[in-house]
C-alpha cells in the first residue's frame, strides 16, 4: 500500500530556475492495485516516482509504504519495500558485471550483505529457472557480461531483478519507452505477468494513453504536480484515448497542447 499526502517539492528553490514539480500531490494506492500514471512532460510523473523511491526527498508532505513512514528515508533504506525499473534499459543493471552477479545483487535487495560469496551455488539454480521463463535463452548465459545483452533483454532482466525478492511496491518509470514496439510489447506482457503472479502493488508511468488504459486496473493523470483525475473500475472500462482527453479538458478547462499525448 502506498499513501502520499500533500507532497510539495520545488527544484532550485530561490534561484531563477525555481521549478515547482509537486504541488500538493496526494494519492493512495491499495494493496494489489496496478495503477497507470499519465501526464504531459513536466507534469511531475517522474518526480513523484523518485519521491516514492527516495531519490528525491520532498519539501513537505508525508509518504507511507505499508503503513510505515518513509518520507525522510534515503533510497537504500526504502529498497526493501520498493522495487524499481528505470526508463533507460542501461540504468537498471550493471553492464560490467555478469548476469548472475546482477541477479545476486537483486536477490539481496534491502538486506544485510556480508563477506560470504555473492553468487552462491544454490542461487544459480533459482536464477536459471527465473531466466528460463523469459524465453530469451539467458538461462545458459549466467556468466556473460550484462553489457552483451540488448536493451530489451536488459529491461527484461531488470524486471526479473525487481521481482526476485518480495517488495511492497513496484515502480515502473516508462520502462518500455526506449524499446522498439515488438520488444516493448514483450516487456509489457512480462510486466503484467509478474504483477499478477506476485500480486504486486504497482505504479507504472507511461507516455502512451492507450497503454495506460489497456493495462492495470486504475489510471491517474497528473498535471502541474497534482492529480487531475483518477478513474478505476466500471468508469474506466471501455474508455478510449479520446474520452480521456475530453475528460482532461473538462476537468481542467485547458487545451492539451502536448502532441505526444495525442499521438500516444
Amino acid at each position: 500500500m502506498i499513501s502520499a499526502q500533500n507532497l510539495e517539492l520545488t527544484f532550485g528553490k530561490g534561484t531563477p530556475l525555481e521549478n515547482p514539480a509537486l504541488r500538493g500531490m496526494s494519492l493512495t494506492v491499495n494493496q494489489g492495485e496496478f495503477v497507470t500514471v499519465i501526464g504531459s512532460n513536466g507534469a511531475g510523473k517522474s518526480t513523484f516516482l523518485n519521491a516514492l523511491a527516495g531519490e528525491v526527498i520532498v519539501d513537505s508532505g508525508r509518504i507511507e509504504v505499508d503503513g510505515q513512514d518513509v518520507t525522510r528515508l534515503p533510497t537504500h533504506k526504502r529498497s526493501r519495500r520498493v522495487a524499481r525499473v528505470f526508463q533507460d534499459p542501461l540504468a537498471g543493471t550493471c553492464e560490467g558485471l555478469s548476469i548472475e552477479e546482477n541477479l545476486a545483487l537483486a536477490i539481496k535487495r534491502g538486506q544485510r550483505r556480508g563477506l560470504t560469496t555473492a553468487v552462491k551455488r544454490n542461487y544459480r539454480e533459482r536464477f536459471r529457472q527465473a531466466l528460463a521463463k523469459l524465453n530469451l535463452g539467458l538461462e545458459d548465459r549466467l556468466g556473460d557480461k550484462m553489457g552483451l545483452l540488448s536493451g530489451g533483454q536488459r529491461q527484461a532482466v531488470s524486471l526479473l531483478m525487481a521481482s526476485l525478492t518480495p517488495s511492497s511496491i513496484l515502480l515502473l518509470d516508462e520502462h518500455t519507452a526506449a524499446l522498439d514496439p515488438k520488444t516493448a510489447r514483450f516487456v509489457l506482457e512480462l510486466t503484467q505477468e509478474i504483477i499478477t503472479e506476485q500480486k504486486l502493488t504497482a505504479l507504472m508511468v507511461t507516455h502512451s494513453m492507450k497503454q495506460a488504459l489497456e493495462v492495470g486496473d486504475r489510471t491517474v493523470m497528473l498535471h502541474q504536480g497534482q492529480v487531475v483525475f483518477d478513474i478505476a473500475g466500471q468508469e474506466r472500462e471501455g474508455l478510449e484515448v479520446k474520452d480521456l482527453l475530453d475528460l482532461f479538458e473538462k476537468q481542467r478547462g485547458l487545451e492539451v497542447e502536448d502532441d505526444s499525448l495525442l499521438l500516444g
Binding site: 523511491a53 522495487a83 540504468a91 550493471c94 537483486a106 539481496k108
Partner: protein
C-alpha cells in the same frame, strides 16, 4: 644488460608497487574514484612503520599500524567527498597536501633511518637465501596473500556491492546498497594497501623519507594501465594479476632503460620515462586495434 642484483631490485620494487596498483585498481577502476591520496598515504605508511619500529614495536605490528593509518587517510578523503560534497579528485588532493604535514609531525624530521633495526625482513635473512633474494621472497608471499584476499573480497556480497557502486550508483542504491559507505570502505581499503606498500618499502630500503611519495600515483597508474595492456582485465582475478605483472614489467622496463648505455639515460630522467611509458600504455592498445581494423579492411 642488467646485473643480477639490479634484476632482483627491480622485481622487489615491482612487487611493492603491485600493492599500490591493487589500491589504485580499487579506487580508479572499481569505484571510479580518481584518488591521489596515495602520494600521501605511501609515505604515511612508511613514517608510521619507521617510528614504531624505532620505538621498539614488533615490525609486523608496526606494519599493521601503517595499514590502519593508510585506511584512516583514505577514509578522510572519501568522507570529504561523500559527506561534504567536495569533488573526489579535489578531496584527495586536500588529504594528500595535509598528509605532508602529518608525515613530518609523525617522523619529527624529514627522514628516519632504519639501519640495524629489526624489520619484517630480518628473520628471513637466516633462511640461507642470497641477500638480494630475501625481500623478493617475502614480498612475493605478501603480494600473493593480498591478491587472494582481495579477489575473495571482490567476489563477496560486500565486494559485489562495491563494484556495483562504482559501475552504476543509482542502480546500487535501488538495490539497497549504501553507496556512500561503500565509497568510504573502498577508498580506505585502497589506501590501507598503499600504506602497507609504504611500510614495506621503508623497511626494505632502510629508511623513511617524507618525499618518497612523490609520483607514487603515476607509477601505480603506469603499473595498472601497463598490466591491463598485457592481460585483458575481463575478470577481477585477471585484473589483480595484471596489477602485479604491470608493476614488475614497469620496474624492469625502467631498470633496462637506465642500464642501457646506448640510450644515455640517467636516474634524473626517471619521471620523463615514466610519463612516456604511461602514454604508450594508454595509446598502444587503441593503436593496435586501429592497425588490426585496417588490416582486416584490406583483406575484405
Amino acid at each position: 644488460m642488467l646485473s643480477n642484483i639490479a634484476l632482483y631490485g627491480a622485481i622487489e620494487t615491482g612487487l611493492i608497487y603491485g600493492l599500490v596498483a591493487f589500491g589504485i585498481y580499487i579506487s580508479f577502476r572499481v569505484l571510479d574514484f580518481p584518488d591521489l591520496t596515495v602520494d600521501g598515504s605511501f609515505p604515511l605508511g612508511a613514517a608510521v612503520a619507521a617510528v614504531l619500529i624505532l620505538g621498539g614495536w614488533n615490525p609486523w605490528l608496526a606494519t599493521g599500524m601503517a595499514i590502519v593509518a593508510g585506511m584512516a587517510a583514505g577514509a578522510v578523503t572519501a568522507l570529504l567527498n561523500v559527506k561534504l560534497g567536495i569533488l573526489n579528485l579535489l578531496a584527495s588532493i586536500l588529504t594528500m597536501i595535509a598528509l605532508y604535514s602529518v608525515n613530518l609531525r609523525i617522523m619529527g624530521s624529514p627522514n628516519l633511518a632504519l639501519l640495524g633495526e629489526e624489520t619484517v625482513l630480518t628473520p628471513w635473512y637466516e633462511l640461507g637465501l642470497a641477500f638480494h633474494q630475501v625481500p623478493v621472497a617475502l614480498f612475493i608471499l605478501v603480494t600473493f596473500i593480498a591478491l587472494v584476499l582481495l579477489w575473495r573480497f571482490m567476489k563477496s556480497e560486500v565486494g559485489l556491492s562495491m563494484r556495483a557502486t562504482g559501475a552504476n550508483a543509482r542502480m546500487a542504491r535501488a538495490q539497497g546498497i549504501a553507496t556512500g559507505a561503500m565509497i568510504v570502505l573502498g577508498v580506505a581499503l585502497s589506501n590501507g594497501l598503499v600504506g602497507l606498500a609504504g611500510a614495506l618499502f621503508a623497511q626494505s630500503q632502510g629508511a623513511a623519507d617524507v618525499t618518497m611519495g612523490v609520483g607514487v600515483i603515476v607509477i601505480g597508474l603506469a603499473s595498472l594501465i601497463g598490466g591491463e595492456a598485457v592481460i585483458t582485465p575481463s575478470t577481477v582475478l585477471r585484473a589483480l594479476i595484471a596489477c602485479v605483472v604491470g608493476a614488475i614489467v614497469y620496474r624492469l622496463a625502467i631498470a633496462f632503460a637506465l642500464n642501457a648505455d646506448i640510450l644515455g639515460l640517467k636516474a634524473q630522467d626517471l619521471n620523463l620515462i615514466t610519463a612516456i611509458l604511461v602514454t604508450l600504455a594508454i595509446v598502444l592498445p587503441g593503436f593496435r586495434n586501429t592497425v588490426r581494423a585496417r588490416l582486416t579492411r584490406k583483406k575484405a
